[in-house]
Amino acid sequence: MTDATDHLTGDRIWTWRTPRHRLLLWAGWLGLVALFVFCWQVMTRGTIWAFVQDAPRQAADITDRMFPPALGYLPELMVPLWDTLNMATLGTMLGVVMAVPVAFLAARNTSPSPRLLRPLAMFVIVASRSINALIWALLLVAILGPGLLAGIIAIALRSIGFIGKLLYEAIEETDPRQIEAVTATGAGPAQILTYGIVPQVLPTFWGITVFRWDINIRESAILGLVGAGGLGLKLQASLNTLAWPQVTMIMIVILGTVVVSEWISARVRRALI
């Protein structure tokens, strides 16, 4: 990096970083430590230590009340579970339908207008990603009223950004030579898309979709907390009535569902690659 020579031996000296670089690195670490100390102080100022000292006993108390789980509550959970699964699946499908065109508009190599539509598509992706599904649901419940529809649309809106971003990156990483070869046959733009690009991104597309579906099952399980239907609604009801054994049962059902969906998505992705 540096061009200096040793005064005594005359050998060339090589260092990994320049002195300026080393100084900046030190300053960076110092700043990080200072920030940590400051944040610690802010945190402890707002903490009531009596409660923290009490925490183990409280936790033990709640755990005690949560067990055994209310197994008899299980049949009642089947309909909300079905709702949750539907909310995740329909939301993912709706999200995919909206995300695919957005991805093609956002990808540098397929965007019909890099000046106007590409930034617009990028904005849609960023906007969708920056807002959590729970917040979308909160807004939509206010607009559409409580129920599954709000949940489905909330899931779909959040999924656009996730699927759109990963898909447009996959489109940009396609092999240009395959596309060039299809172009050279005299194919039209739509044919270039379906023969040159789609086969290249299809496995990634399915992988992303199944992965998002898996995430959406987890998210839709809690959307009921703000009134969007499904298991979350039951969870809220049980929490409100301090029915702890029921809460445990709901958590077990959510855990089981997530494990199953995780297993399915892992299987599907392995089959694709």
């Binding site: 092999d175 030579r177 395959q178 070869a181 050279a184 046959t185 194919a187 739509a190 044919q191 379906t194």
Partner: protein, 274 residues
Amino acid sequence: MLDLNGLTKTYKTGDRAVNDVSLSVPKGQIVGLIGPSGAGKSSLIRCINRLVEPTAGRITLAGTELTGLGPRALRRQRRRIGMIFQEYALVERLTVMENVLSGRLGYVSFWQSFTRRFPPADIARAYALLDRVGLLDHADKRADALSGGQRQRVGIARALAQDPELLLVDEPTASLDPKTSRQIMRLLTEICAERDLPAIVNIHDVALARQFLPRIVGLRAGQVVFDGTPADLTDIALTRIYGDEDWDAMRRAEAEDEAETREALAARDAMVLA
């Protein structure tokens, strides 16, 4: 058949890749395009079907001028020009048959191609071509399951599926071993002879060009500096194309290479027979 007139390509960076090239290829003739890396071979043949947009000059294919055509008319003309690529450029995740049929994309509607319902005549032609290149048994395999030589055969079948009047061939043997390279070159020259097809073949392997191509054009810094038969390609001509080099030593090394390949193949055959 094909006439290039003052063809020039200047890239945005200011590189003049092709500089005032005029060239005429009659029906049935195969022209080898040789030259050092960066001489503009690739740009030149891509200018012909306008995968690269030429800056100046005229391209005429059997009386039709290709420069200045609108997108739709250009697509119609591209159907007449088959192209074969360096690293095969097959759509890897499609089957061999789909790749060959993709040569018909310019002739069928979007819906026909999307649903893979190609006209029976196209399918019959695709089977005939696969038979011609010796891959009839591999029709339903995915392209990425084939070896390099087999893939290039699919590339040739795809180009021929267009029923082209001209072949553009970009470094067909660059990623193949010496023996497969020769097989592919032999197949190409045979097919051109069968169909009386003119072709332009970019090739960096001078020995291979000499062996198979009756006319060789040398390109240096985007300009034609040699145009003649393999016999005309003397050391002086090679120096004009590539710059100073010990051509005699190169030829000797090439001869040794080939002898080695032959020996290795013979040894392998002996082992297989034993």
